[in-house]
């Protein structure tokens, strides 16, 4: 029989050491597919580290990949704090991106100082609207938001394709289902010469800090935590639960929308239907790895991005299938999950407890 008990005294070394150890164990597991594909794991690990930290370019690429994950991670973390299960960040991301190109791609020829904030605000609003609908359906009809947000992802993606073949289609795009590019002055400025990493990252970091502060220090955060931890008690205490849920829904959707803004106005310039390789879903993983803490989201996003970029680059260097990258990410995720558990709990093996006579 096994028993599980919370650890009484959690040491600092353990809190820090176990996640690192889990990541190392995940890499050890990665040796299995590597060997199966006939590659030398030791060389592969070297290539992996080189792929993330080997050059300024590599690091900048890792940060570029982490940026949308911070936004979607925050979106999930805040909503989940209120027990609002927003699985729809992927769709909200696209809503944000659609709004960004709708205003940014020439519809308004404003100076950058006006256009950039406008794009950011409208993108966030579109994402927020995308989360307001399921929240309304939940509070009005009791429709489960896990399902509605999940289904809305499909609907929004199909809607996006419709828009890209219709009103949003770039007339100069030679028929491709893609939007016109955002005006140059509407783009989020890059952070480094010749690199893709852009100021969306700064926005993400600032928002993570703000979220962390607001959650712990503001009345808004207080209400949010109370609603999430015990909605019945919060309601009894006079907190307007519906309003709190709507508030966090709008912020969560807005953050997911910003992920779309950041990708389209920071990186790609124009919108296609494959803007996001599942950033919305990965954001949930990021949020949960972070224990729903906004600052933790930043760390978790950097971690996931590092593993992906490193493993992806390694797969090329080693000549193994590039599907390896996702495999290593998923193994790391599962190992870190278990590691986090071991840091918090002790697993005690005990005998069957037969009494001595």
């Amino acid at each position: 029989m096994i028993r599980i008990e919370p650890r009484a005294n959690r040491s600092r070394a353990m809190d820090l050491g176990i996640p690192v150890l889990s990541a190392v164990i995940a890499l050890a597991f990665a040796a299995i597919p590597l060997l199966a594909a006939g590659a030398n794991p030791i060389t592969a690990y070297g290539e992996m580290v080189k792929g993330v930290f080997g050059s300024v370019f590599a690091v900048s690429e890792m940060l570029t990949r982490a940026t949308p994950l911070i936004f979607t991670g925050l979106a999930a973390a805040l909503a989940f704090r209120a027990k609002l299960w927003n699985i729809g960040a992927e769709g909200q991301l696209y809503l944000g991106a659609m709004a960004a190109v709708a205003v940014g791609a020439g519809w308004l020829d404003l100076p950058g100082l006006l256009l950039v904030p406008l794009i950011v605000i409208l993108g966030a609003s579109a994402g927020a609207a995308g989360m307001a609908v399921p929240t309304y359906l939940k509070s009005r009809f009791g429709a489960d938001e896990v399902v509605t947000t999940l289904l809305l992802n499909f609907i929004i993606l199909i809607f996006l394709q419709m828009m890209l073949e219709g009103p949003l289609k770039d007339p100069m795009g030679l028929g491709w289902p893609q939007s016109a590019p955002i005006l140059d002055q509407g783009m989020l400025p890059p952070l480094m010469e010749r690199m893709r990493v852009h100021s969306g990252l700064i926005l993400a970091l600032v928002l993570a800090g703000v979220a962390q502060f607001m959650l712990a220090r503001s009345v808004w955060g207080f209400r949010l935590r109370a609603v999430g931890e015990n909605a019945a008690a919060a309601r009894h205490a006079g907190i307007n639960v519906k309003r709190s849920l709507f508030g966090v829904a709008i912020i969560s959707g807005g953050l997911a929308g910003l992920a779309g803004v950041s990708e389209v106005a920071g990186l790609k310039g124009y919108l296609t239907a494959d803007l996001s390789p599942g950033f919305g879903y990965t954001g949930i993983v990021v949020a949960m790895l972070a224990g729903l803490s906004p600052v933790g989201v930043v760390i978790a996003a950097l971690f996931i991005a590092s593993v992906f970029v490193g493993a992806d680059s390694m797969s090329r260097a080693m000549g193994v299938s590039s599907f390896l990258a996702d495999l290593v990410v998923s193994m790391s995720l599962l190992c870190v999950l278990v590691g986090g558990f071991i840091a918090r709990y002790r697993i005690i093996r005990s005998g069957t407890g037969r009494a001595a006579s």
Partner: protein, 314 residues
């Protein structure tokens, strides 16, 4: 309007609905069993992929069709077991574990497929399940083509609906599964193992999900493609709630979705010039949400869903 009527009257439409519904039936039943025991299994999308890949690969390697079905179920059970270990004794977040399983199962399948077949330009094919050409039944008007020209896997899916209903509602095991999803303490206090019941339910449910994937490569088609599961697993997660966790309604929900989808392709071919094609593609999802909103009032969650349970803790 005439068109619509013609479509709804045609046997091929209903046959298509049932065909499209088949993988969903497996998936919803699997998800239903997991959730009845109190565990959400978002690994479903990945388990579909694993089922599709393993079932097909087993047949391709010469295991025979039913051998492939068995291999798919075992592969699904394996990933289910992984999810079960993470979420039941360890009590980790069911959302994250599920999404992690989906990513893991999908990437393992893809990596394995590619490593095994590095140089294919068109995927190898197998001899899939054939429609059961039953002597008299298949020739019945209407019912013949709709019901009796389906493959054995469709029949297996329908049989599973009955089996799952029977087990849940008529056996002690089913009662225990329902109890563990409502209040694990009730099961523990009666000397049954909460862990055992939950792990068992997840493993069995995941095996069923994998059959949904296997249907895609062994009946609906005859080869494995990357990305061919295409969100079908997620749809099942929605359908479970629509079905209020009941096998009978799960069948109904899957059939409705299948019918919407079958209608969608037909309407698109008829009216594609008038309305953007995407409107039809969206329809099944929008209708699912509407159905959910209508069904939500009566939705009765397994109360312990998403709640981890630890022995000897309060």
């Amino acid at each position: 309007m005439m068109d619509l009527l013609n479509i709804l009257m045609s046997e091929s439409f209903w046959a298509a609905s049932l065909r499209i519904a088949t993988p969903l039936i497996f998936g919803v039943l699997g998800a239903l069993i997991c959730e009845r025991a109190g565990v959400l299994n978002l690994g479903i999308e990945g388990i579909f992929v694993v089922g599709a890949m393993c079932g097909w690969m087993a047949v391709w390697l010469g295991a025979g069709l039913w051998g492939g079905v068995l291999v798919a179920a075992l592969a699904g059970a394996f990933f289910g077991l992984l999810h079960a270990i993470l979420t039941v004794p360890l009590g980790l977040s069911q959302h994250v574990s599920g999404l992690g399983i989906t990513l893991f199962a999908t990437s393992v399948s893809y990596f394995t497929y590619r490593t095994a077949l590095p140089n294919v330009s068109s995927p190898p094919r197998i001899e899939p399940f054939q429609p059961l050409d039953l002597p008299i039944l298949s020739d019945l008007p209407f019912l013949g083509p709709v019901l009796f020209q389906q493959t054995a896997l469709t029949w297996l899916a329908i049989a599973m609906v009955g089996l799952v209903w029977y087990v849940l509602n008529r056996t002690a095991l089913g009662v225990a599964i329902q109890a563990v999803g409502d209040n694990p303490d009730s099961v523990d206090a009666q000397g049954l193992s909460v862990y055992g019941l939950r792990i068992g339910a997840i493993v069995a449910g995941s095996a069923l999900m994998a059959l949904g994937g296997a249907f895609l490569t062994m009946s609906a088609f005859d080869a494995f493609f990357f990305g061919m599961v295409n969100g079908r697993g997620w749809v099942c997660i929605a359908l479970v709630i629509f079905a209020s966790w009941r096998p009978g309604k799960a069948l109904l929900g899957a059939l409705l979705f299948g019918a919407f989808d079958a209608l969608q392709v037909r309407l698109q071919t008829e009216m594609g010039a008038l309305v953007p094609g995407q409107v039809f593609l969206m329809a099944p999802y929008i209708l699912s949400i509407i159905a959910l909103v209508i069904a939500a009032r009566s939705a009765d969650y397994p109360r312990a869903l998403l709640q981890p349970w630890f022995k000897g803790q309060r």
